[in-house]
Assembly symmetry: C2
Homo-oligomer: 308 residues x 2
């Protein structure tokens, strides 16, 4: 059976040759170049699906939060390219149990980031609620950030703490309560303003968003850039709630923080000083070598979260 | 419970004001204007979902045909705007029973129209195979065709016969065999080359594709344009296979042909002579009055096919 990544690789490899103005599968977004000049306004496109009982339990997230989160996962990919979200295409497959009130709250959540829905499709579903969103954004050509441009010597940064979402999911699945962590799992925020500050900075080299966990996602940057990384596990940024929750529930905080996924913070590499009005957390550096992570401190053996 | 159309109306009405360069929900595609001049190259975007056991039975269509048809429904919307398809975003939610061989054949079908997949998402599904495709196309601004531009006195045309797909579905659901009709249901062709011939002709006014049946789809043109229509049921183009099948199975051919859906031919209105290398079928004319169809010949009471 294909894994998620091997299926994507298969699809990528059997495509007809792309026209020169398109960069297809391989980064957080595809890029469609529209302009002729270096400063032209280009388009990025991404797509994420959320399936009931795979990505969410309907009883564990409000419809407003679900709509909001379904958009967030996409806007986070737009931000990862250094781009500004422009519009959304919304496809819903709706099972019988979903009421009008539920749908209206869901749509309020979809609208909550202010990015307009400009098209889509609505269909019946035999049993499960399925949400597919395609999001489009715009970015100046010179500001586009990719996974493939990390350089040896770069410092590796995160734009926020990691692990809260994974701990929130752990709490939901184990019928535990920790309101701030469950809230973090259900209400991630796309780091758009951070991305728009980082995008024009030339010394910010590679960038992506953390959706499957740092341990898995960083390897995409390493493979695309042909470099290795050293990460100091003592530097992984974690919230106080998260550390307390791990202690009480006997979980390894570093391992959960880097393999849990759904953090939707930015992971990027940069030389020199980075200018940003938000907190940034250096966690290690890019080194020469095979595309793998050398963990300094604790050894991390689990890889990241994968959907199948 | 919202109908498909009332839900779309609700979503449309609660959107933030769109930027001036975007036309959102209301036609076969959204339009994103990129250029500054009348002859600029603009973008159209559409999205269609196919859900197992709602839009297809896995046992009744080959994976190659399914992949091909999922793309066709989108390319037909692109054609309806007078645009040329450029790229596809493919989202798949895959249940356990789907094998690697099945997926590979499916992807061959997706690729069969030569439009590249440039991104997407692949996830697990608890039970049913769900396919959402977002397709993008390009069109010169002056060539864009909309639903809202039909004019009193226009002749109404179809770009092909209707009913074959609906009869093919009838055969599948009733365990009857009629190979050409089942083939038509599983292998619709997007009328792209016809659309590209019609698009530059200024006397071609309103256009859309027939996905829910002429009886339902034409009303969208009438409402958007603020006009009425007279359709001569004797002029509805039907294939010989279709007429034979209806006779043998005691079905009303005109009613099935105009309400069956999934024809994916073009429905358009034009003044003066239309130039086209393909067969075109005049079926009636645009008249003043309420946005409804006056059927000349047989009275059609059923409305079109709706998904929920």
């Amino acid at each position: 059976m294909y894994s998620e990544f091997s299926l994507i690789e298969f699809i990528k490899n059997c495509q007809p040759t792309l026209p020169k103005h398109i960069e297809g599968i391989g980064d957080d977004c595809a890029i469609i170049f529209r302009g002729e000049e270096n400063q032209a306004d280009e388009q990025v496109v991404t797509c994420d699906t959320m399936v009931e009982n795979i990505h969410f339990l309907r009883a564990a997230i409000s419809p407003y939060e679900l709509g909001r989160k379904a958009v967030t996962t996409n806007l986070s990919d737009i931000a990862a390219m250094g781009a500004k979200p422009e519009s959304i295409i919304l496809a819903l497959s709706i099972p019988k149990g979903i009421t009008n009130d539920y749908l209206e709250e869901f749509i309020k959540g979809v609208n909550s980031w202010g990015v307009p829905v400009i098209g889509g499709d609505t269909t019946k579903s035999p049993e499960h609620f399925v949400i597919t969103i395609t999001a489009m954004g715009r970015v100046m050509r010179n500001n586009i950030k990719r996974r493939s441009t990390a350089q040896v010597g770069d410092v590796i940064y995160l734009s926020g703490t990691v692990g809260d979402s994974a701990a929130g999911l752990h709490a939901i699945l184990n019928d535990l309560t920790c309101q701030p962590l469950v809230f973090a799992h259900n209400n991630p925020t796309p780091h758009i303003s951070v991305a728009l500050e980082l995008a024009p900075q030339e010394n910010v080299h590679a960038m992506m968003d953390v959706s499957d966990g740092v341990a898995s996602d960083l390897v995409h940057i390493l493979k695309a850039s042909g470099v290795g990384a050293e990460i100091d596990t003592a530097m992984i940024p974690m919230s106080g709630h998260f550390k307390d929750y791990c202690k009480v529930n006997n979980l390894n905080p570093v391992e959960l923080a880097v393999t849990g996924g759904e953090d939707y913070v930015l992971l990027f590499t940069a030389s020199d000083k980075v200018m940003c009005h938000c907190d940034l957390y250096p966690i290690g550096k890019i080194v020469e070598g095979a595309p793998q992570i050398n963990w300094i401190g604790e050894d991390i053996r689990k890889s990241g979260f994968t959907h199948f």
